[in-house]
């Protein structure tokens, strides 16, 4: 039985003040499975949360394709591509961090967690530059929104309807804004994980917080993998 050593180790390794076996679980295994299932279900909730936005996006993109393409073209795709690369790298460092914990490489674990946070902060920085551009161009929806005389890609002489473009930008800011909010929460989680790793709380037998924190981080990455082509790459080739 793997149960008995698994039950014993965290109690010895972490003493009284630790997140290991809580009173209402029978085994560490049960506790880990519960935590992981809980995070998966939470992510299902998140999928539905973003799903409502994707649904709205797809409907308006179909209705106002030309306007959406024009609006999409005004966003700096190079910045978006950079951010995509940054996030893919961060997913790699998350996986390496978990591997480091599983193989008791504490120094590597700390480096990987720090790198993950660095990538996260880079992402938010690039996002900030992008928002600044949109702000300067008066592409933020609201009173000073301006999208006059923007040509629809592939249709010379035809201009986008500013009202419809404004719907695109509203969705752009809500979707990327919510995504950025998730990144900020993710950074908070990873700062906490870093602190736990600093205190040597993780062992090959107990690293559940890393796993479920990692699940969350990967989810946030995957949302971006969808957001990038949908928002930045509409009809770019024209």
């Amino acid at each position: 039985m793997s149960d008995s050593p698994a039950t014993a180790i965290p109690n010895q390794a972490h003493g009284a003040h630790n997140p290991a076996l809580l009173h209402h679980f029978a085994t560490v295994e049960q506790q880990r499975d519960s935590a992981s299932l809980g995070m998966w279900i939470f992510l299902a909730t998140e999928v539905m949360f973003f799903g409502g936005l994707f649904c709205a996006y797809l409907i308006y993109r179909r209705w106002y394709f030309g306007d959406f393409a024009a609006a999409s073209k005004s966003i700096d795709a190079a910045l978006g591509a950079t951010n995509t690369a940054v996030l893919i790298c961060s997913s790699l460092t998350v996986v390496l961090a978990i591997w480091a914990a599983q193989t008791s490489r504490r120094a590597l674990l700390l480096v990987m967690l720090a790198l993950t946070m660095l990538f996260g902060v880079t992402f938010l920085g690039v996002k900030g530059i992008e928002y600044k551009q949109k702000f300067d161009e008066h592409h933020v929806p609201g009173a000073s929104f301006n999208f006059e005389h923007e040509e629809i890609p592939g249709r010379p002489g035809q201009y986008a309807n500013p009202q419809h473009a404004q719907i695109f930008f509203a969705l752009y800011f809500i979707m990327t804004g919510l995504h950025a909010l998730h990144m900020i929460i993710g950074l908070g989680i990873f700062a906490w994980l870093f602190w736990m790793a600093w205190k040597a709380r993780f062992t090959p037998d107990y690293h559940t917080p890393l796993e479920i924190g990692g699940l969350y981080w990967h989810f946030v990455d995957i949302v971006w993998i969808y957001l990038f082509p949908l928002l930045y790459l509409i009809d770019r080739h024209k």
Partner: protein
């Protein structure tokens, strides 16, 4: 029978239990015990129930006469809006899951607590914060759009507190999501040895199905509220047709949650019915597997019927046909349940204790509510009765006649376990009778009113509708008494009620095999289940063999 179940006299000193283990406000506000959190929820939702009830009372008083004399149109709009918002989001949705589910889900599967006790407490705090925001919103002006806050009226026209009410519902929604998440993980991971899926009480199956809707539906209304708030604050055109938006998209997103939300209210109630009917018929539930699976299929089908709220809103005829057909299909698992309950009653040794009276009330009222739902799923009739009192009567038969009757039945059934006290049985039976009569008197006339053409949400009406409206208002008064009574005698019983034995109903189920009220960790040692669910034949055989002076045997 009475002799066979005689209990030893109550011990003079109360045993240690979850209620008397710790004292003080802090021990309640910082508790992670699912049973204490359940009581916190009980107090909060009861508070909101009476607020919502107060609005209902004012609505009925206004409708006593054809003229608008008690309140004017604007106030009336706010009254029915706040009644709906409070009752739906702050009473019905949390009612059974957060109170009885919270208390019973871990106990029924032999666990010490829910999988995430701190998340459970967080969900109560989210509910309280959302509730406080809603209270503040109501006290500073309220909302007048109807609980559905349809766009573009809610985003471009009304000057009431849409954003604040929306945020209140947003926050309370996360409380509901966390409860559902906790239940699913608990049911998957925390079952005691021997508690297989086919031995789970049907109450658990019902809560599992409810939780699926909570975690998959609630986030959609959350994001819809965000979009409404953004559109209203920044004057965008996401849903406003004048600015290129699509108001139907709002309705789709809204009903994608809000139709399944009805199943969040009724499914747990159905779970309670299975427990009560089996217990008071002394029979294994008829067709256990079908009843269990029907809960899941109601949850699944429930996600595919939302547009039947939009038949007159201008959706395509083909879509309407599909949604009409799918709406009919929900009737199948619902009917499976009703038929199986009645089959359970057949040749049972039925006892008419208070919980069973509520169960009988549920059976009749839910059936009427369900069948009139078929009227509304039929395209032709729906056009005729859309936005009339027929609809109002229909969903009150489900939400009040169904969900609330189930909630009250469950409260009576498990009160001895929750409080460790017995309530006065004759008062409880009287209250059940009053609720049943009051309910029918209130809402049956509304079917007729709607069918002959009285629209909902109007504060005046033609004089020929007065008789039925007076009947309805009289019924609401009776109903109000019926709801006050249980609150009074439950409170009374906490101090003066006779101490409850561990298993006053000789019911099956693990929750009855521990002391009343339970200890903090529910069971002295982890139970091991070796018997099937609802083994009433076995229990009664044990009881008959037991000598009168013996303690009632535990089963298993």
């Amino acid at each position: 029978m009475a002799t066979a179940i005689a209990q030893p006299p109550a011990q003079p000193i109360e045993r240690e239990n979850y209620l008397n283990k710790h004292y003080g406000v802090g021990s309640w506000l910082l508790t992670t015990d699912h049973k204490r959190i359940s009581l916190l929820y009980l107090m909060s939702i009861t508070f909101f129930f009476f607020i919502g009830g107060f609005f209902a009372l004012l609505i009925r008083l206004e409708l006593l006469t054809p003229a608008g004399d008690l309140v004017q149109a604007d106030t009336y709009n706010k009254l029915f809006t706040m009644h709906g918002m409070v009752m739906v989001f702050f009473f019905l949705i949390p009612s059974i899951p957060a109170v009885l589910g919270n208390f019973l889900v871990p106990m029924m599967i032999g666990a010490k607590d829910l999988a995430f006790p701190r998340v459970n407490l967080l969900s109560w705090y989210l509910y309280v914060i959302g509730g406080a925001m809603m209270l503040h919103c109501m006290l500073t002006g309220g909302v007048d759009t109807g609980w559905t806050f349809y766009t573009p009226f809610s985003t471009a026209f009304t000057n009431t507190k849409i954003v604040e009410a929306g945020l209140a519902i947003f926050v309370a929604g996360f409380s509901s999501i966390l409860t559902g998440l906790n239940f699913i993980v608990t049911i998957h991971r925390m079952r005691c040895p021997g508690m297989t899926w086919s031995r789970l009480p049907l109450f658990i199956w019902a809560h599992y199905a409810t939780s699926i809707i909570q975690i998959l539906g609630t986030p959609v209304i959350a994001i819809t509220i965000v979009l409404v708030a953004v559109e209203r604050t920044l004057h965008l055109g996401i849903f406003d047709p004048k600015l290129g938006g699509d108001p139907l998209l709002f309705q789709h997103l809204f009903w994608f949650y809000s139709h399944p939300a009805v199943y969040i209210m009724i499914l747990p109630s159905m779970g309670i019915m299975s427990e009560i009917i089996a217990c008071f018929s002394r029979k294994r539930i008829f067709g256990y597997n079908f009843v269990a699976i029907s809960s899941i299929s109601i949850a699944v089908f429930g996600f595919l019927v939302w547009a039947h709220h939009m038949f007159v809103a201008g959706i395509s005829l083909y879509a309407a046909l599909m949604f009409s057909l799918l709406s009919y299909s929900v009737a199948v698992p619902s009917a499976v349940k009703v038929f199986n309950w009645t089959a359970t009653l057949y040749k049972g040794s039925i006892r008419y204790d208070a919980p069973m009276l509520y169960a009988f009330g549920f059976l009749g009222l839910f059936t009427i509510g369900g069948l009139t739902g078929l009227f509304l799923a039929a395209l032709g009739i729906d056009v005729h009765v859309t936005d009339t009192y027929f609809v109002v009567a229909h969903f009150h038969y489900i939400m009040v006649g169904g969900a609330l009757m189930g909630y009250l039945g469950g409260m009576h059934f498990w009160w001895p376990k929750i409080s460790g006290r017995l309530y006065p049985e004759s008062w409880a039976r009287l209250a059940a009778l009053i609720v049943f009569i009051g309910f029918n008197l209130t809402f049956f006339p509304q079917f007729i009113l709607g069918y002959v053409g009285m629209p909902r949400r109007y504060y005046q009406y033609p004089a020929e509708f007065q008789v039925l409206n007076v009947l309805s208002t009289a019924g609401a008064t009776v109903l109000g008494v019926g709801y006050l009574l249980p609150m009074i005698y439950f409170l009374w019983s906490m101090r003066y009620g006779k101490p409850a034995p561990d298993n006053p109903w000789n019911a099956a189920g693990l929750e009855w095999q521990t002391q009343s009220p339970p200890t903090t960790f529910n069971f002295e040692k982890e139970p091991v289940v070796t018997w099937e669910a609802y083994n009433y034949e076995e229990i009664d055989a044990h009881l008959l063999n037991a000598r009168p002076d013996q303690e009632a045997p535990r089963v298993g």
